[in-house]
Amino acid sequence: MSWWKSLFPKRASDAQMNSELRFHINELTDENIAAGMPPDEARRSAILEFGGYEQVKEDLRDVYRIRLLDASVANLKSAFRFIRKSPTFSLAVILTLALGIGANSAVFSAIDAILLRPLPFPDADQLMQLEQYNPKVAGPKRPVAPVRLADWNRLNSTFQAITGYYTEDESETSGALPEKITRALVAPRFLQVWGISPALGRDFTPEEQHFGGPNALMISDRLWRRRFNAAPNVIGEKLHFGDYSYSIVAVLPAFFLFPDRDVDLWSAVPFDAPYAQARNSTWFMVLGRLKSGVTLEQGRANLAIVQAQLGRQFPQTDADLAVDIQPLKEITVASSRRSLWLLFGSVSLLLLIACTNIVALLLSRATQRKHEISIRFSLGAPRGALIAQLLTEAFLLALIGSALGLFLAAAASDIFRSLAAQLPRVEEIHLDARIVLYSLACSVVVTLLCGLVPAIRGTRHSLSGSLAQSSRSQVSGRNPLQWLLVGIQVALAVTLLAGAGLLLRSFQQLGRVSPGFDAAHILTFQLSINYGETADLKKLRQFTDRILETLRATPGVDAAAISVGVPGVPFRYQTELKLIEGRAETEPKLIAENRLVSASYFATMRIPLLVGELCRKTDGPPTLVVNRSFAEAYFPGSSVIGHHVQSLNFGYFGPAAIVGISADAREVGLDHLPAPTVYWCAPIAEPGTYFLVRTRNAPMTMAETIRQRIHEIDPARSVYDFAPLEQHFSDALAENRLRTILLSFFAATALSLACVGLYGTLSYNVNIRQREVGLRLALGALHGQIVKQFLWQGLAVCLLGCAAGFALAAASSRVLAGLLYGVSPSDLPTLSTVVLLVLAVAAVASLLPSLRASRVDPMQVLRDE
């Protein structure tokens, strides 16, 4: 039917009206002339007989005039009346929509802030991260040497500027206790690359960037407020770090949270320092700003040429290197992209289920309103107007729902922020005009999705005589559309539940993993050590030894060790190793994870030594222990002990002898199988080194004692980041947990919505078939038969829905593939559990209306009839 034509009626033009009416007058004139009047007289008489010409035209225009405003206002009024008249129905619809739209808007606000918006810097899409890597080795990309960074800056033609940074933790010693503050050491042109200027003060001067020049600091807005009460005269104040003091020259804007949100200080690295000249030292994370109009590809091609040129100039250090360039935003957010889109997908499915539910509700509503609609038809209301009215009702419901949903989203985004503290850019998630606009768009889409089908169907049969045929004697138990909708809801709910079930299972599997070390009763913390101290390794080693001795001597501590990186938490340090004894070209290259640990690490973590001995404490060349995977992968059938290896990337470690083989441990993450690993026994704490302490009681109870002991040894060091090792695991799984919790929540909501849909449809069905049931009971049908019939009707639809959902879940399993651990995306036990759960819940939801059906009183029904 071309019902839409009635929404957009053809308009007769003014000229057409005139010509139609003139024709009439001309014919009348002819008639009068034929009756014997003179032409003038005939015409006058014809005009007279025709009546008010302009009035007729006005009436004609009225026929076509769409009184848009009047009609909308009237529709709105009647929609409000409709809502007031059926509060329960409206409340059900509004709450369902509030949940659907609210959850959707909340997840969208996260996607918008994290994935869609540019980083909060001017022209942020020009910001790139640059790394050096060796394309021949499957190792990680690496930070960049200062001299090379300077060369890139000088030789390239596609970047406005290239800069770099690295961070270390400092102890600020102005106060009674040292305070740990994270400092970024930055290369020249730092602010130029970001495209920002200080909120207060100035950029570094050239002297401050020279070796031996004045020590200058830029501080964060946060530190400025915390330490200096936001005093405007903070410029020129000093901060003290042990023997050194630095003058504050600038306060950076509050939004500037880079390199990461913990950094409070920025100071310049002197590029002309003697120790900054080695081409093989790897210092800087490098950032560059492309010139405007230059594409990423052009930048990559240009830097490739620059690096090739450097390779010819410095064949030893630069020939094997290539440059990798990625947009900074990509680097920042890529890790959370899949989780976020997964959540958005599931929350959109949830909204779809909510809509389906509402379509079913509106459909049953429309059947009840058939009478009202046919009366309005017979009074001459055009179909378009009726559809518009029904849509207005749906729209009003959707609008109220989405307004309520926004409140929900506002509340939810706080929960989301606390759940998702580990996500990048989480502080940028806000509810703003864009989100309001988005939820408004949602409500329009919802209106069309939910309102259109019921409106079209509701106004379809009304042309002839449904007025006479009252719904009284109707027995129409078949509503295939409604049952289809229930089936769709069940199918979508099964899909969501399957996803949630798989994520839960995979989380459970992760909890059951045996990591190869004993993580209970381990306390971790860090000490502020800066890179400057690594100049005197002997002193640093003595200091480390002393700390470890003190820790071991502390009552309540069983063992203490250091490690760069926390065991079981993602931290990759993969390099290629060179075998000093030589290795045939045909044998696989020695690629291994590197761990820098003290000899006590194995005892502290309870990683058994399988063969050989632990690293010796000698002042000679370092020794190392490899894990079993390393020995089996690279030295199958022969002894690995006694060989010497050298890392191609550790500048200050010479060749080391392999003295032992340890058992495998999941060093790089609980969800990663143990990789070939070498433990460099180097008992020297560096910036970023973790202290691991095995405690007798709950780990955190020892924190204060340990802090005091270390303060006694070295009052200028800050001790920070106290946490049980298990806390680190939990943090490392935060994103995993976030998506698991949220998806489970969405799935549970979907299941309850689907059940409400099933319950509602079946109840409605029971209601309209009451007479039939009453008659059958009067004729001797058993209650059990009636219950069985309705129960089966509900369950049959659910079974079909489950089958469809099963297929849908299997088809979409690819989405989850990379996010699961220890469970396949088409895991049969999980999927069948989900189906059983849905069927069980569906059985309960169908049982109630079915029981009600069997309790129909036949006498009552017969009397009504």
Binding site: S2, K5, S6, P9, K10, A12, Q16, S19, E20, L21, F23, H24, N26, E27, L28, D30, F50, G51, G52, Q55, V56, D59, L60, D62, V63, Y64, P382, L463, S464, G465
Partner: protein, 111 residues
């Protein structure tokens, strides 16, 4: 005595128009002429009601309109019945017959 618009039962004019147009494509003047002739001058439709009614029926899709030449060669708007209009006419006719029969019954029985 001719019956004017106000005396016509609501909706009856529409039915009459549909009935006349059902005989073949015809213009507004032709419709008013025929109603007058067939009803033997009893029913006289005012132009002020006829044309809005025609346009309303066209908008509802019961009538279709085309421009063509009248017998005297003038440009005129001809109306003809659509499929939808034919259905509508059938239902209105049967309603009317029932109503008229019922009224007639009462008038006769109550005499």
């Amino acid at each position: 005595m001719p019956i004017e618009k106000s005396d016509l039962l609501q909706g009856t004019l529409d039915m009459l128009i549909l009935k006349i147009v059902a005989l073949g494509p015809v213009h507004g003047y032709g419709i008013s002429l025929r109603i007058r002739q067939i009803s033997k001058e009893v029913l006289q439709v005012q132009q002020g009601s006829l044309y809005p009614a025609l346009h309303r029926l066209e908008k509802r899709g019961w009538l279709e309109a085309d421009w063509g030449e009248s017998e005297k060669g003038r440009q005129a708007k001809f109306y003809k019945l659509s499929a939808k209009g034919r259905k509508q006419l059938a239902s209105e006719e049967s309603n009317w017959n029932r109503l008229a029969g019922a009224v007639a019954n009462i008038m006769q029985t109550a005499q």
